[in-house]
Symmetry: C2
Subunit: 339 residues, 2 copies
């Protein structure tokens, strides 16, 4: 009933598809807070497993114990939604998937950032032909508070920004470049405020259509760079902040009759002079609509056989393998070849 645990409980209460039976938290003050809010607090994890009325368990605990708890829930006949990262290695994830298949239960991960409107706008630009063929997407999340001071800063609990924000941003990029293979992975970690785990990283993915994704997370960026930047053969798109619309500059005519050079202190440049409004067209895209409750709606539809699971095992595994390649790239200080 902490950060994301509380988020799930609050959203379940507001939901039109699921009912909240209760929460379990190892911290006594959180159980008390839940009960004060009219929510049943289970007294042990075993009590949760034993309650036959519970159909779905959402696990929002430190990252290193998702696996053990997930498999216990699946074995007790519960469907399981794990918070991200679903676990810390592809081997562990394979065991979890195996358990889900063995016990015939739904097992998925809460990739809530698939409902972020900035991501949805970027995906729309990619899927449309608004700015031609996309060859570069840059996805940045910049904060300036360092890494959170709890278990998120500790390696043994699966801390670090790759497992925290990286898992979202990689999932988004793999959803956008959905049909492309990853050719190579190159990653650099930062350790500015924390030496034990990455408090930021810079990750380059190359896809087999020669397109590229660059993902960056930083927690010591007192001035944020734009959230998304996307380049196509016929224009560029930008989203400065995740609440802002996507701004597009389309190239309507490649050739210009006259180029006015831009003057700098120490020289002129025609190559880098900005284009005028005769050869380009600028506009904002309408912000996409989004409802994060669709996540639980999909789980319920999947349970009833009316839909396929929104975040699939294959997608979960692909994100995990990409993160593993990133860790390997950092360890070996080299480019890792993939797929």
């Amino acid at each position: 009933y902490g950060g994301m645990g509380g988020w799930h409980a609050n959203h379940a209460v507001k939901s039109d598809v699921v009912n909240l039976l209760g929460i379990y938290d190892i911290k006594k003050e959180r159980s008390e807070l839940a009960e004060k809010n009219g929510i049943k607090a289970y007294s042990s994890f075993q009590e949760v497993l034993d309650d036959k009325n519970i159909e779905i368990v959402t696990i929002a605990t430190p990252n290193d114990i998702h696996k053990e708890q997930t498999i216990a829930c699946l074995a007790a006949g519960k469907h399981v939604i794990s918070e991200k990262p679903v676990t810390l290695s592809s081997d562990d994830l394979a065991e979890m998937i195996e358990a889900a298949e063995k016990y015939q239960r739904i097992f998925t991960v809460h990739q809530n950032r698939r409902w972020d409107i900035d991501y949805l706008a970027m995906k729309k630009v990619y899927d449309s032909s608004l700015i031609g063929d996309i060859f570069n997407i840059e996805s940045r999340i910049h904060g300036s508070r360092g890494i959170p001071s709890d278990w998120r800063g500790m390696k043994e609990y699966g801390g670090g920004m790759m497992f925290d924000w990286g898992v979202h941003l990689i999932d988004q990029i793999l959803q956008i470049y959905a049909t492309e293979k990853i050719v190579s992975v190159y990653c650099e970690f930062d350790n500015i405020t924390n030496k034990e785990v990455d408090d930021g990283f810079k990750l380059t993915l190359r896809f087999d259509n020669n397109a590229r994704a660059y993902i960056e997370v930083g927690t010591y960026n007192f001035i944020p760079l734009p959230r998304f930047y996307i380049q196509g053969t016929k224009g560029t798109g930008i989203i400065t902040d995740w609440r802002e619309p996507c701004h597009i500059v389309e190239c309507t005519h490649w050739h210009e009759s006259e180029v006015i050079p831009v003057e700098t202190a120490a020289g002129l440049t025609k190559t880098m002079a900005p284009r005028d409004e005769i050869t380009t067209r600028s506009y904002d895209l309408e912000k996409p609509a989004s409802d994060v409750h669709d996540f639980y709606r999909n789980i319920c539809d999947t349970l009833e056989g009316k839909a396929a699971q929104f975040v699939t095992h294959k997608e979960m595994m692909r994100v995990m393998e990409t993160m593993e390649a990133a860790f390997k790239s950092v360890e070996h200080k080299s480019v890792i070849y993939f797929d």
Copy 2:
């Protein structure tokens, strides 16, 4: 008497330290234009070499013939200023340096971008302790016209954006991180509008103080990203456009009493919430003063034994070796270890 040749001629006319004796251009219409402008046009390169009144020759020709012309001028007793890139390989540069030593003449390269006020502001931030220890500098030049359609797009003449803008941006970064060794070089080339040479690139340099420089040139960026971005342990600096001042956000107090989470479509985040004005201080730096004529003033002072050459042989070689490592990184798709 073309792009940069014309630039040198015009600046020499305005200069307080050098006199323009004349120009030589293989294109007849340019010679005619020069004469119309009251400038003597030599009829052959040999005539230039033979004129005993010429002390200094500035070479602004396609990149592949700088070496041959430089050595011919040095052998004829002229001091030589080559346009950038000084040549296409470190072996060629070594021969040029050897010739300068043999004939005891000044030989340097026109790194005019050392007078750009954006670069000077960034260097000031690095050299001061305004935002603590610097661990990341990002230097971007974004245009949207593709690569120029002349020899700059052809490999045999030394075309491509690495040799065009890269040589400036690398020189600037190596001037900023002046005392640090380069640990590794990683580069990716783009070929969006031109397949033969890079029409943009992304280059990461790691230095032995664990700091990093990222240099990017693009010619298909219809929305430019900021020119400079610099991160220190106590703040961040940004220069949006080369004519804009450097904006600084300093962190005055690391810890905050209360963090207001930022809401996005699909969740909250405290880690990525912006800071308030109680724990930070924002301001613009005054734009540095700059006079590109100092380049020729330094050459004259060097000639008179009153100063050391501003752009040294060692610096020229270091930039060339960095570019070679970048080309090697692209060829092998790998990280190249340096120094």
